[in-house]
């Protein structure tokens, strides 16, 4: 076990865990932040996507020992009131079906728009194809990203 100090959603949080513990489980089990989801445990589905220094990162394969001074943002920290343009666009297009993957989808989309405010369809496909949705909401996700890009 080792003590870590993490900067998450603008706050500093202390945890004492094994250095190999993925950030996903630090968030979910130790910090009671369940917005970041477990889907595959091997960075194949994107349900666990967070921002590490603003970049979309799969938290299920990211050990806490690798974080250093990097800043973490989770879906809870994107905005707590859905005021972020991507969250707003998700509501406008009523994207969710079961909703389980959508936190990860939103985090991938938000990171895309930060680095590329006017993405083409191909840019969106490239940035989003690591996020699986079994309900098949991909078309609405694309529309929502385009709506958010206009704001």
């Amino acid at each position: 076990m080792a003590k870590y100090s993490l900067k998450i959603n603008g706050k500093t949080q202390q945890v004492d865990v094994d250095p190999s513990t993925p950030i996903l489980w630090v968030l979910r089990d130790h910090l009671n932040m369940p917005g970041t989801k477990f889907g595959c445990g091997m960075a194949q589905c994107g349900a666990c996507t967070i921002h590490l220094d603003g970049n979309a990162t799969r938290s299920c394969v990211l050990p806490i020992s690798a974080i250093g001074k990097s800043v973490i943002t989770t879906i809870e920290g994107l905005s707590a009131d859905a005021s972020h343009p991507v969250q707003k666009a998700w509501l406008e297009h009523d994207v969710a079906q079961c909703g389980y993957c959508q936190g990860g989808q939103i985090m991938s989309a938000a990171a895309l728009l930060k680095s590329n405010p006017k993405p083409t369809d191909e840019d969106i496909d490239n940035a989003m194809s690591g996020n699986i949705c079994r309900c098949g909401t991909y078309l609405r996700i694309k529309e929502a990203i385009k709506t958010a890009a206009k704001k």
Partner: protein
């Protein structure tokens, strides 16, 4: 065969709900209205007064029906009886209540109810049933509550109830008196429930048929805890299980010394899910009976400890299950063989065309004289279609919370059929039903998988042993390799044409491991004079379950491809050919026992033809495939436009037409159809769960391919047939015909017919 109930007949068993009070008028009206066994125990006035609860939004709720609570400040809470797995019942069911209650949708809050067989009847999500089975009962509840509010106002104002009108949550009298519902709610709750209520005509709907946003959309986008995975209580432990690595193996012995020494680990032990002689209900399917449980403080610690277990497995041999399902109580022998996909295909091929004398298939339907028709045929077209097992791959893996104590138990998590769990839990835990509380969380997908709650029973067993609250979590690998798959199917279709290219005979013989897919009484039964349907089954230890209409999604691929090929041989347009057959079935049906309504089928095909511009010159250059199918109680069809992109087939756009009766929430319904199209393309192109010596060859998303963003169509236009038919369900029906339309578009695009799923396994140089 293991626990085989017809995997597609996911409808509430008759008599579900058990000993329900007959005082509820809603129960009897529901039966009169549609043969539904639903029960709503309404509170008498005295009980209602006691039931004014302190809940989260206000300190005074007046309960007007089992589903409706109103505060003095006019907030209307509507409880949703059926679990949510993405079909949006948390919005559509309250819309039905609010419509008849005549309240302001802006004032409505929605909450998942707990499980209560007595109060809510059979709570069940699956079989495209939620909106369909609650259509009348929930509207009755809304209308009755409205009537009670009117009566309360009439008594308060000293006027006749007939002179009071309602609109958007306001009661008005011709004298000019008005009151908001909240002002009358407490009094209304003390009044008797009206014996008879009048429901609105569809033309008067103002909430139903008007798109409403998902009531849980906000919680989804800000990451609030909603799902079983998110459930937690203080002091809760995390549990995982290790199941045998292959179908047909069982636990021989294990050494957990090292695992138990790992940090944070509380215990490692083996447990039996069912005691010997346990009588399984139809949905108590379990693949493995003895497993190793690992319990500890946190998920990562438990995952790591599991790797340290040294377990030995051995052949299970043939085993017996005692199953009391739809077919009655019977002992089922589960074969012990370790299965390999290539061998499974060989076995199925042996059975496929029905020409073996030693393994006769069961005749399911026969019209006319098919033998003679085929004997006299000028041309016979015969094709065989295959499809593999499919894993559900809900994005949220299986999980469940359980806290079993000496005299009571709480279980909570994602489950489609809480009512079916209850009787089995009472037996497993030896506790009376009223001491077992079942809470339903939002499900991260279901698609049929969560109708089989064996993971909840495992959680209960582990909690019982630990004497502590635990949450059982499956990893993706646990989830994908556990079984309860869409079955492996095959079917051979034969068509007999006379010298003038008329269809004079039709024969389907289908089977599967371990279930026969053939729906003998569906189209084209009823449209062909000489018709034969046969089915067979090969028992297996690979467990199967419902999968977004498993038999239908196979049949729609096979039959709709076959009809395309027959139309081609006859020189007919594929839509015109189907319409000719349906016209025959409508005007002069063969046989009496046809499951489908030819008229609604025709309506969908005609709408599809119109909206897709089928046959129009501007679409002449497109590579298009069409299919339409009936399943559950609705009709759906798609036209798929395909192109070659980077050397591979790609579905660029889709036009869909659906008849599901009244569409309660149109935009959400379009979302579900679009999702079914994307899911159908993905499953038909890529989906497969194969085996080698009993071991699943896919165990996570790196080797089980799911459709992704870049593979989804650019456009899916969804059109609904407009009618006033009571809703007939939407979760499953749009999914099956996608498979057939994709197969037919593949032919147009590549010049090659695709008979085996996943289709991309037959595509040269397909990217894996």
């Amino acid at each position: 065969m293991k626990n085989i109930n017809n995997s597609e007949a996911v409808a509430p068993p008759s008599g579900a709900g058990g000993a329900v009070s007959r005082r509820s008028f809603l129960r009897s009206s529901a039966i009169a209205g549609g043969g539904l066994m639903l029960s709503f125990s309404w509170f008498s006035s005295a009980q209602a007064a006691e039931k004014v609860e302190a809940l989260n939004l206000a300190d005074q709720w007046s309960e007007l029906a089992a589903y409706i609570k109103i505060t003095p400040d006019n907030v209307v809470k509507i409880l949703v009886p059926n679990p949510e797995f993405g079909q949006n019942v948390m919005t559509s069911l309250p819309m039905m209540v609010a419509e008849e209650l005549d309240c302001d949708w802006k004032n409505v809050v929605v909450e998942m109810s707990t499980h209560d067989n007595v109060k809510y009847g059979m709570q069940f999500t699956g079989g495209s049933n939620s909106v369909r089975m609650y259509w009348k009962p929930l509207r009755n509840a809304g209308a009755a509550a409205r009537q009670m509010l009117i009566e309360a106002a009439a008594q308060t104002w000293g006027v006749s109830a007939t002179e009071i009108t309602t609109k958007a949550g306001v009661l008005s009298h011709s004298s000019g008196k008005t009151a908001k519902y909240g002002e009358m709610a407490a009094k209304a709750a003390t009044l008797p429930v009206p014996k008879d209520v009048k429901l609105k005509a569809p033309k008067d709907f103002s909430i139903v048929r008007n798109s409403k946003k998902n009531t849980e959309g906000l919680k989804v986008v800000i990451g609030k805890p909603l799902f079983g995975m998110d459930y937690r209580v203080d002091g809760m432990l995390i549990a995982m299980i290790q199941h045998p690595p292959a179908f047909g193996l069982k636990l021989k012995s294990f050494d957990a010394t090292a695992a138990k020494k790992m940090p944070g680990i509380k215990d490692v032990f083996s447990f039996k899910l069912y005691e010997d002689g346990f009588e399984q209900a139809g949905f108590d399917t379990r693949t493995f009976n003895e497993m190793i449980a690992i319990v500890g403080n946190s998920t990562w610690e438990v995952m790591n400890a599991r790797k340290k277990i040294n377990a030995q497995w051995e052949a299970a041999g043939d085993t017996k299950d005692l199953v009391n399902g739809r077919a009655g109580k019977k002992e089922v022998t589960v074969p012990g063989r370790l299965e390999t996909t290539s061998k499974q295909l060989e076995m199925m091929a042996e059975f496929a065309n029905g020409r073996q004398s030693t393994k006769p298939a069961q005749q399911l339907r026969k019209d006319g004289d098919p033998e003679t028709a085929f004997k006299n045929a000028a041309q016979i077209i015969e094709r065989t279609y295959n499809a593999p097992f499919l894993a559900h791959n809900t994005m949220e893996p299986m999980n469940f919370f359980a806290h079993v104590e000496a005299d009571k138990a709480l279980v909570a998590g994602p489950v489609q059929a809480p009512g079916w769990m209850e009787p089995s839990l009472t037996k497993l835990l030896n506790l009376p039903a009223d001491k077992i509380e079942i809470q339903m969380t939002r499900m991260g997908g279901g698609f049929g998988r969560r109708a089989y709650a064996q993971y909840a029973y495992e959680a209960a067993r582990i909690s019982q042993k630990m004497k502590a609250p635990i949450k059982l979590i499956y990893t993706r690998e646990d989830d994908m390799t556990y079984g309860i798959y869409r079955p492996m199917y095959t079917a051979t279709y034969r068509a007999a044409l006379d010298a003038n290219k008329n269809l004079i005979g039709f024969h389907v013989i289908g089977g599967g491991i371990p279930e026969n897919p053939v729906h003998a009484n569906r189209f084209p039964a009823g449209a062909v004079d000489n018709y034969l349907a046969e089915g067979w089954e090969i028992p297996s230890n690979i467990t199967i379950g419902a999968f977004r209409a498993p038999r239908s999604n196979f049949n729609a691929a096979a039959e709709q491809s076959f009809l395309d090929e027959v139309a081609e041989a006859m020189g007919k347009d594929p839509i015109a050919f189907r319409l000719d057959l349906l016209k025959r079935a409508k005007e002069n049906p063969v046989g009496k026992n046809n499951d489908y309504d030819a008229n609604r089928y025709i309506g969908v095909l005609e709408l599809l033809k119109e909206k897709s511009g089928w046959g129009k010159p501007e679409n002449a250059g497109k590579k298009r495939g069409v299919a339409a199918y009936f399943c559950h109680a609705s009709y759906a069809g798609h036209v798929v436009d395909m192109v070659m992109r980077d050397g591979q087939p790609y579905v660029e756009s889709v036009t869909s037409a659906v008849d599901c009766g009244v569409v309660v929430n149109p935009d959400a319904a379009r979302n579900m159809v679009q999702g079914a199209v994307v899911d159908g393309i993905g499953q038909s192109f890529y989906g497969a769960l194969t085996h080698k010596d009993g071991v699943p060859e896919q165990n996570n998303f790196h080797n089980y391919r799911m459709i992704r963003h870049n593979e989804a169509p650019k456009k899916i236009d969804v059109h609904f047939v407009e009618n006033d038919i009571d809703p007939t369900g939407l979760g499953e029906p749009p999914f099956p015909p996608v498979f057939g339309a994709v197969a037919n578009a593949l032919f147009k695009t590549t010049g090659k017919r695709y008979y085996n799923q996943p289709f991309m396994s037959e595509q040269p140089n397909a990217k894996s």
